[in-house]
């Protein structure tokens, strides 16, 4: 593809990095809003990621709300059947893992699952279609798969992270939360000469447990990001091949359908598992 048009990026490297560039907007030092000169600016916004993720989120919300509004017992429509299958699937996953009662976790799981699935699904649209269209509309960069943007996956996993902390404190109290961070895995001695060693053990526990706690959102987001980014990259690499890309693209797309679904499921499942661990009382 890269070699076909005269108007596109010149080399394969340019083509790839062009595809991996987000459409960004930020406030420059001069005080003006500028497009695409935001490298390293922490206040930049990836407009394409936000646009597509919000659009897909809206599709999810409106579609499901539309079904939820007119659920019928006697004559369930096709959409209702689909929605009920998904909801029941999420509900049973939650019930298998999460023993407590929570009004939040199941809807959270549903939202995460469908939303991430839809965002991942954008990967199956041939890599050049939307960027080419947006180029015609005068938009230079367009990355259509929000989950290949590390900001998006981190944005979600950090929300989950705060929910983990919130649920831990809610169910075990602030002392329980601190205790969980400091009294595991080695219980500090409480009497005798061992008291001298206790602060070190607590510090050791704290470091260990903090890493374990922080690893949850990091692994959650990087897993999704890594899978989707790698998949996207391979689609881009296949797209460079010219005519040979067709069978390869098809093969990879078929395989990717699996990854798309699996990653959405894993993200949902881990969210539920983390939150159920947080709510578990010993």
């Amino acid at each position: 593809m890269a070699s076909e048009g005269g108007h596109g990026p010149e080399t394969s490297g340019d083509y790839i990095s062009h595809h991996l560039q987000n459409l960004q907007v930020c406030k420059a030092d001069s005080g003006e809003w500028v497009w695409n000169h935001c490298a390293g600016n922490p206040l930049a916004i990836n407009v394409d990621s936000m646009f597509w993720s919000v659009l897909l989120g809206l599709i999810f919300v409106l579609l499901f709300r539309n079904v939820a509004k007119k659920t019928s017992q006697d004559k369930p429509g096709r959409w209702q059947a689909v929605v009920e299958i998904i909801v029941e699937f999420v509900d049973s996953s939650v019930k298998d893992t999460f023993q407590g009662k929570s009004r939040l976790i199941a809807p959270l799981g549903l939202t995460v699952f469908v939303w991430v699935f839809l965002m991942n699904l954008m990967d199956l649209i041939p890599v050049d279609w939307i960027p080419a269209l947006s180029k015609l509309a005068g938009i230079e960069y367009m990355k259509v798969v929000p989950t290949t943007d590390v900001n998006v996956t981190f944005g979600m996993s950090i929300s989950v992270f705060f929910l983990i902390i919130f649920y831990t404190i809610k169910n075990k109290g602030i002392t329980g939360f601190i205790g969980e961070l400091t009294l595991h895995p080695i219980a500090p001695p409480t009497k005798g000469l061992g008291l001298i060693a206790a602060p070190f053990i607590i510090a050791f526990n704290f470091i260990l447990e903090s890493v374990a706690l922080l690893a949850k959102p990091v692994s959650l987001s990087l897993r999704l990001f890594g899978n989707m980014f790698a998949g996207e990259l391979i689609f881009i690499l296949i797209a460079i091949l010219g005519l040979y890309q067709l069978p390869l693209h098809f093969g990879w797309a078929v395989f990717h359908v699996l990854i798309v679904t699996l990653q959405a499921f894993i993200f949902m499942m881990l969210t539920i598992v983390y939150l159920s661990l947080a709510s578990e009382t010993h």
Binding site: V61, E84, R103, L108, V150
Partner: protein, 156 residues
């Protein structure tokens, strides 16, 4: 690939979507599912109950038929016994009637015979008187009287 404000934006978007889902999507859909599950459960239970009731009804029907059959047999037996009894009664009545009629006929015959005898006696007396008159009229010898008397005696 650097971290920037998108992260916050995405978090906010997620919170909004999750809130919306929790508020407006999850409850009605789950309620619909649970209502349907309840309906299916109830339907199956009703079907089970129906099945049970059917079996019960069949047993009851069998019982009723058996009872009817038993009753019919009893009735039949009774009827047979009654018929035999009636026939026996009839026979007894018949023989009694015959006896009665026979007795009546015998009595009548006897009566008739008596009457005939009486009549005959009357006639014999008349004949004797007539013979006596004839004897008196002729007034002939005793041998002849004897003769006539002998004849009369024979006639008696």
């Amino acid at each position: 690939m650097d971290i920037n404000l998108t992260l916050i934006g995405q978090s906010i978007a997620m919170i909004v979507f999750v809130w919306f889902c929790m508020k407006y999507i999850w409850p009605p859909v789950l309620e619909a599912i649970e209502t349907r599950q309840k309906q299916i459960e109830d339907g199956l239970a009703a079907a089970d109950r129906g099945q049970e009731r059917l079996v019960q009804a069949r047993a009851e029907a069998d019982e009723v038929v058996d009872e009817a059959r038993r009753q019919a047999t009893t009735i039949l037996d009774q009827a047979n016994a009654r018929a035999i009894e009636i026939v026996a009664d009839g026979k007894a009545d018949g023989s009694k009637e015959r006896e009665r009629q026979l007795t009546a006929a015998t009595a009548e015959i006897e009566q008739e015979a008596n009457r005939a005898r009486e009549e005959l006696r009357g006639q014999v007396s008349a004949i004797a008187i007539a013979g006596a008159e004839k004897i008196l009229n002729r007034e002939i010898d005793a041998t002849q009287h004897e003769d006539i008397l002998g004849k009369l005696a024979k006639e008696l």
